[in-house]
Amino acid sequence: MKFEHFGTGIIKGLAVTLRHLFRKPITTQYPEQKLTTSRRARGNELVWDITKCTACGTCAKACPQGVIRIVTSAKPVENRYVVEKFEVDTGYCIFCGLCVEACPFQSLLMGYSYERAKYRRHEVVHTNEMLLPSAKRPASGYMYPKLAKALPPQTLLIERDEVKG
Amino acid sequence: MPVGLNHYLVLSAILFSIGLYGALSKRNAVVILMSIEIMLNAVNIAMVAFSRFIVPALLTGQVFAIFIMVVAAAEVTIGLAIIIAVYRGRETIDVTNINLMKW
């Protein structure tokens, strides 16, 4: 070891850590304390608006993973095909949001919630009704600024950690 | 029979004999060294026993034991150094294969 500064460097470092001892911890106690995610959060599921969907399949084409499967009725009703099955395999979904971006009818949105872990593998495949928005499955403002405005503002560490170095 | 000088001396003799046997019969140089350490320890016991029972006020035996310890430390150091040097050159510490002293 070269003692180029004969230990003053070590002492400086010790002083830095000592100062941190008197700072507020920056960690969050997760289950009790929760931070608000981004208004554009891409939570771990998709929210589907059945009323607007025309089953055009743009989302399925845009999906790089190919996790969206759409089965429509053979015959159009009111000049529209009816969706018989809209299936998202969340297990393979990478939540890139390209489908939401691609949807021309604003019928597909990213989910806002995140604590949606499942115990069984087949439960991650979401179909039709399971994809509908509900109180438990709010939609995020991803690609939809109006929706985003309504969501609570994101907690930022920069706002909490006021101590300057 | 209360424990007396003879007990210690016989213990010392036993340990010394064991060490002697090891030093003479083992083929691994390190084990030989270890046996020699046992012998030195045996001698130390005898020394301290003499000191305790014959001249308890003088501690001469303990002084000698200290010197024996010094010599033992020195012997181990140099012995191990030799072993490592030999091992480096010959790739073995089996003394039966080390016959540099032949002729």
Partner: protein, 372 residues
């Protein structure tokens, strides 16, 4: 005072507090229990303190779930560890693998036999106390080495080799730096040394304190000298293959060693149980905790040194300085006028500063590529 007529070793055990009820066996038993309780309790406290403390140094909270302020965390950890499956590697040297944690732990516990908790309150006031500590503490090395060797794991073997190299090197500065204290106190008995500290020896022997702190940290493998468990290199070092109860023993050993070093530093350099107002044992515990706090403060700050730098530090920095310190102390003990002991404090601090600065300048320790 004849304490143990039966064993014929009466001369070892010196005066007990005269008001101690009963005879020697009480003392033996009571203190064994006290020491066990003290070590286990304080080790648990240390584990909690270190985890919380480092957490705070790292601007996080540390364990805070089990019990108030996470106080029960060490117990939870202990329970978890004890309930874990005990895995022994197939290629391991089974007997040695089993024995190793014990061999490492028992000597560490034995150290506390001579540490005075307050005046005369110690298991055995050995008149060779300091020597006893140094001697006993070196046995744990064998345990660590056994663990490293018997695991049949290259990482643990490397760690074992590092341990041996470290201990062989650092024993010398430890003994030499303690020699200065012993010279000043004029006794090897820890209680006597405490009694001699009208001025804490950290002031009279600042250099010895510094050297002992560094060398002892290295011997018990505390950061920045924790090369044998270096998580970034050797993953966990010598106890990589240990689990369950045996791992718990190693864990315990690690903190018991830290506790032992803290206690020794508190006793030899900080005046032990001496202090105003508060009861002596509280002073003692307070000082131990303070020393340990410095240890984990350092742990939370410093990177780790490399093995050759560790060796170089011992041989080129600590050893010469310890020798110089010994000579300086010897001269001072002989020549310093008794009355002006306080005047020695600034002198010795100045000597320490000068020596450290010059040595740092003179020696370029370590570094450099090793050609193969």
């Amino acid at each position: 005072m004849v304490l143990n007529p039966g064993l014929g070793m009466e001369y070892h055990w010196q005066a007990l507090p005269p008001d101690w009820p009963g005879n020697f066996w009480w003392h033996w038993l009571a203190f064994s229990v006290i020491i066990l309780a003290f070590v286990l309790g304080l080790v648990m406290g240390f584990i909690w303190l270190e985890r919380r403390g480092i957490g705070r140094f790292q601007i996080r909270l540390g364990p805070n779930r089990t019990g108030p302020f996470g106080l029960l965390q060490p117990i939870a950890d202990a329970v978890k560890v004890l309930l874990k499956e005990n895995i022994v590697p197939a290629a391991a040297d089974k007997i040695v693998h089993w024995l190793a944690p014990l061999v490492a732990f028992v000597p560490t516990l034995m150290i506390f036999a001579v540490v005075p908790f307050q005046d005369g309150a110690l298991l055995a006031d050995l008149n060779v106390g300091v020597l006893y500590i140094v001697a006993i503490s070196s046995i744990s090395t064998v345990g660590i080495f056994m663990a490293g060797w018997s695991s049949s794991n290259k990482y643990s073997l490397l760690a074992a080799m590092r341990d041996v190299a470290t201990v062989v090197s650092y024993e010398i500065p430890v003994v030499l730096s303690l020699a200065g204290v012993v010279l000043l106190a004029g006794s090897l008995s820890l209680n006597q040394i405490v009694m001699a500290q009208d001025i804490p020896f950290i002031l009279l022997q600042p250099l010895a304190f510094l050297l002992f702190f560094i060398a002892a940290s290295a011997e018990i493998n505390r950061t920045p000298f924790d090369l044998l468990e270096a998580d970034s290199e050797l993953v966990a070092g010598f106890h990589i293959e240990y689990s369950g109860m045996k791992f718990a023993l190693f864990y315990l050993t690690e903190y018991a060693e830290a506790l032992a070093v803290s206690a020794i530093i508190a006793t030899l350099f900080l005046g032990g149980w001496r202090g105003p107002v508060l009861p002596p044992w509280l002073w003692f515990v307070g000082k131990v905790v303070a020393v340990f706090s410095v240890m984990f403060w350092i742990r939370s700050t410093l990177p780790r040194v490399r093995i050759d730098q560790l060796m170089a530090l011992a041989w080129k920095f600590l050893l010469p300085l310890a020798l110089i310190n010994l000579v300086v102390t010897a001269v001072q003990v002989l020549a310093w006028p008794e009355a002006s002991l306080w005047a020695m404090v600034p002198v010795n601090v100045a000597i320490m500063a000068a020596l450290v600065v010059t040595w740092s300048r003179l020696l370029k320790l370590g570094g450099g590529r090793v050609e193969v």
